[in-house]
């Protein structure tokens, strides 16, 4: 691990200002992903700003009738919250499908959103990777790509976003609240938070330098049946090959976001309108532009089958 300086931020404003004013600075909250990457020297911050004591660890009613989830609410606490379990079960289920008990106790809401891909070539500093080292190439394209993305990809990068939580939040139309170093705030729909790789896969989100996520707002409950179905190589503690976050209403309409297949939680409202017509119709639209590799082409069929199972469960 490279050396770095460290500070414990005591206010949101000070944290954002410090991050903006120091080259190579990064926020650290749970640290479960960042420290892992620092040990491998994939991440090499020169300064860490510990944001754990900013008081952003509460889940409060939002004025519009939803819930405002503090950026530092741990994954365990979010999944265990009674309101989440009752009104946003797809989110509770997604959280519980991710990582391990130990990791969920540390991992935060904002950190989960901003975690990096688990593409093996991103982790291996001996391999080319346009995300880790822009311009160096992509070893995944001709390499081991079973876990990687099939849609939203580019010639520069086929990394998949690893989060379960974010997939459910995408289905729920969550909104990310931030504070910028100049003190101004903004709200970013989760659909707009992550960027597709294009020819700049190292730029993964729209946040500005020093901009700090303070909360994620869940709109008021939409009802319906909440299902999160995750397909993976082990029964527990593994990243998704494919995951489906669905909210299905009694009339057969609803929302579907898919994980494990794209550089961000993948949802397409036009595809969603096909829900009453079944999984095949939805998948045909959702993955119309898929560009799978030989090794991950199975994901296209797997999405349809997983969604088919979800819709059967919703009817049952």
């Amino acid at each position: 691990m490279r050396a770095f300086s460290y500070e414990r931020a005591s206010t949101i404003e000070a944290a954002a200002k410090a991050a903006a004013g120091t080259d190579g600075a990064k926020f650290i909250a749970g640290g479960t992903n960042l420290l892992d990457l620092m040990k491998l020297e994939v991440e090499t911050p020169t300064h860490l700003i510990d944001v754990n004591r900013l008081g952003l660890d509460r889940i409060e009613p939002a004025p519009e009738g939803g819930l405002r989830v503090g950026a530092l609410v741990r994954n365990t606490d979010l999944a265990a919250d009674e309101r989440i379990r009752r009104d946003y079960a797809v989110l509770a289920r997604a959280l519980l499908a991710g990582a391990s008990g130990q990791l969920r106790n540390r991992a935060t809401t904002a950190g989960n959103l901003l975690q990096r891909t688990r593409c093996p070539y991103f982790y291996d500093t001996n391999q080319p990777c346009n995300k880790r080292q822009p311009g160096s190439g992509c070893a995944a394209l001709g390499g081991f790509s079973r876990q990687l993305a099939v849609v939203g990809v580019s010639d520069a990068c086929i990394a998949s976003h690893p989060s379960d939580m974010a997939v459910a939040m995408r289905a729920l139309d969550a909104v990310v609240e931030t504070v910028r170093p100049d003190g101004t705030t903004r709200s970013i729909p989760i659909a707009d938070l992550h960027r597709l790789p294009g020819d700049t896969p190292h730029v993964e989100h729209v946040l500005e330098r020093g901009e700090l996520i303070t909360a994620v707002v869940l709109p008021k409950p939409v009802g319906g049946k909440h299902i999160y179905r995750k397909v993976r190589d082990r029964a527990s503690y593994a990243f998704a090959l494919v995951s489906i976050a669905a909210v299905v209403l009694p009339n057969g309409t609803g929302r579907v976001a898919v994980g494990g297949v794209a550089p961000k939680p993948w949802r397409d409202e036009a595809a969603e309108r096909e829900l009453p017509n079944g999984a095949k119709a939805v998948t045909a639209k959702l993955l119309a532009n898929a560009r799978p590799t030989e090794q991950n082409a199975f994901k296209v069929a797997l999405v349809e089958r997983a969604l088919s199972a979800v819709l059967a469960e919703a009817r049952g």
Binding site: K39, T46, H47, N52, L96, Q102, N105, R106
Partner: protein, 211 residues
């Protein structure tokens, strides 16, 4: 150890990127091992309690909680397995909650209370979970065992306060201590010897004893 080449890169990066906070003197500390006194800007004072005892340390910022416990406080019951949060051998309790000590910096735990396997019980006064692991032969080589025991103790507490899991059928009802729940909740602790079935028995017994 860093190679001379890597050191050159980090020296240059630090000077270029962070002139305001990093001095030439502090970059020189890179060539020393982590246990030597690091430069002020790259070390932090932290105090926390470990197994009920207050400890104060001045640590290189890079020091994980795991290394602070093992290398600085000589509490070697907590094990280093993968050092990447995948195996669970380093599991300790922070304010009662289980965490991977390898994936958190010691400096981040100012004022907090840490419990390691040494704090759960000692020879002659074993924690019920330690006794149950012995009784049910919940290990072979024993390397993962401190992590398994710390994790299982905290896991049963999580169930008591109604934290659900992936194996919980009804999110609106309290989970029951079943083998399926135990296996799911303990999936962050790997046992290369494969003592899982005996571990499940040990945990089941303690859960029953407590109920």
């Amino acid at each position: 150890m860093q190679s001379p080449g890597a050191l050159e890169i980090s020296r240059r990066d630090l000077l270029v990127a962070s002139a305001a906070t990093v001095t030439v003197a502090s970059t020189a500390s890179l060539s020393h091992s982590q246990t030597n006194a690091p430069a002020a800007s790259q070390s932090t004072k932290v105090s926390f309690t470990v197994n009920g005892e207050r400890r104060e340390l001045q640590l290189d910022n890079r020091t994980t909680l795991l290394d602070a416990l093992r290398e600085h406080l000589h509490l070697t019951g907590t094990k280093k397995g993968c050092d990447h949060g995948q195996c669970g051998a380093c599991t300790v309790l922070i304010d009662g909650r289980r965490v991977n000590a390898c994936l958190t910096l010691a400096a981040m735990h100012e004022g907090e209370g840490i419990t390691t396997i040494e704090g759960l019980g000692q020879p002659g006064s074993l924690h019920p979970m330690q006794a149950a692991f012995v009784e049910h032969d919940g290990f072979q080589c024993g390397y993962c065992t401190p992590g398994q025991i710390c994790s299982s103790v905290a896991m049963l507490e999580e169930m008591k306060v109604n934290i659900p899991s992936h194996a919980t059928g009804d999110l609106l009802a309290p989970a029951e201590v079943t083998p399926a729940e135990i296996r799911e909740r303990m999936s962050g602790n790997i046992c290369r010897c494969g003592a899982y079935s005996n571990i499940v028995q040990a945990i089941t017994e303690v859960a029953g004893r407590k109920a």
